[in-house]
Symmetry: C2
Subunit: 238 residues, 2 copies
Amino acid sequence: MAGAEEQAASKGKARAATSGRAKSRPRTKAEQRAQSLEQILDAAEYLFSKRGLDGVTLRDVAQRVGIHTTLLHYYFKDKTNLFEAVFARRAGVTSGRRMVALEQYEAEAGDNPTVEGALHAFLDTDLDLYYQGGEPWMNYAAFCARVSNTPEGAALMDQHFDPVVLKLMQILKRALPDYSEEDIFWGYHFVSGALMNTLGRTGRIDRLSGGVCHSDDFPAIKKRMARFMAAGFMALKR
Amino acid sequence: MAGAEEQAASKGKARAATSGRAKSRPRTKAEQRAQSLEQILDAAEYLFSKRGLDGVTLRDVAQRVGIHTTLLHYYFKDKTNLFEAVFARRAGVTSGRRMVALEQYEAEAGDNPTVEGALHAFLDTDLDLYYQGGEPWMNYAAFCARVSNTPEGAALMDQHFDPVVLKLMQILKRALPDYSEEDIFWGYHFVSGALMNTLGRTGRIDRLSGGVCHSDDFPAIKKRMARFMAAGFMALKR
DNA sequence: ATTATCTATAGATCTATAGATAATGC
DNA sequence: ATTATCTATAGATCTATAGATAATGC
């Protein structure tokens, strides 16, 4: 019964309906595998970003791709595994890019790194990545924001993003030699909250501001965020 | 089968096991009703704060209280209704208190309101409420943070918190007469992100800082947040 | 009499696995 | 031969409702 529906879905509109891709079935098995993996991850990323781990069923994901639920198990063992794969797929790219940007800034700044400089490297690099990466990257950003305050998500954040954040902390400490570690960590806590709120794009600021601001206007945020936060850090000095 | 288990649970340890209260069954029906409602809301609040709407089953809630799932339907119709009731229960208190604090500050400040003054009224009042309110209020704070970036939660935020936020905006505009609305709204966007990150108490900052900071140290945050954010606002001037 | 609480159960999912079938790969 | 995909199905929930029972209320 349910099987018949799913079958119809997969035969009818087929996988092409979901993403722009997949016009013709790929030839080699390697290609086919790669395409299926990517389509599954894209669909899961989108759905998890909207509804969270528990709000999405494997059937939702399968239907969005136009495949059978069982294929998800074939490729990803179970739901948790799929979730972690979604997180991991792009985590290396964002953390790598920010790491490079921070190291480059550190080299440029020499003995006089500034808070604002470090924050530009950290924040702008990331905002650019999402904004320029188009829909998939924006979805990933929303996914990260959405899961960042769940136990599962927080564990993955620790695992994938601690190194970049600690690199940022290292530069901030050099920029603020007379600050306590505590002040700097709380400053970062404020920064990361604002960043997650941005990546989430819930549309709340749009409604609140009556359309003056738009959740997905990352350029507007990039223009303000590092400057705003740097000034905040400076104000913590007593 | 399942029925037998639930029965055993409700007969055995009973409701007293969950919260400190409920030593003796209340006498009147009105009291009984009130107590049941409160216990259900407390349990749901706690669980929703940890796992979100879809991560919690009605059975989880019923088990935590020590009652039958069906009683949840008796009092709250369905799951959505229960969720909204959890949100609504304390929303009026927090938004009311902040509204009073903002109006009082406005009166005190006369013609010269400051950003920092307004933010102290807005933020400190709320942080105090949660911190001094003990566990239930801390759970509510985490609940709000957790659901703030979900569609269901965002709608409730709009509904319950828009008036206070717009009151804050009104004072900020007077404090920053030469600022664009856009700048002020983005500033608020940063503030609210940092606040939600605080209310969530995910423990990420604890792990990241190696124990230097603690997620539930609201006094430490209160000491820094308004000052930090006010300086951020001032830096947006070009 | 009215209200709080429980029993029993319908009906709908959901995750996961075993095993069959249909493709590509040498 | 190997790998991708589907069929069939087990087993475990989950939400919600109808109707019974056990308390309090006049």
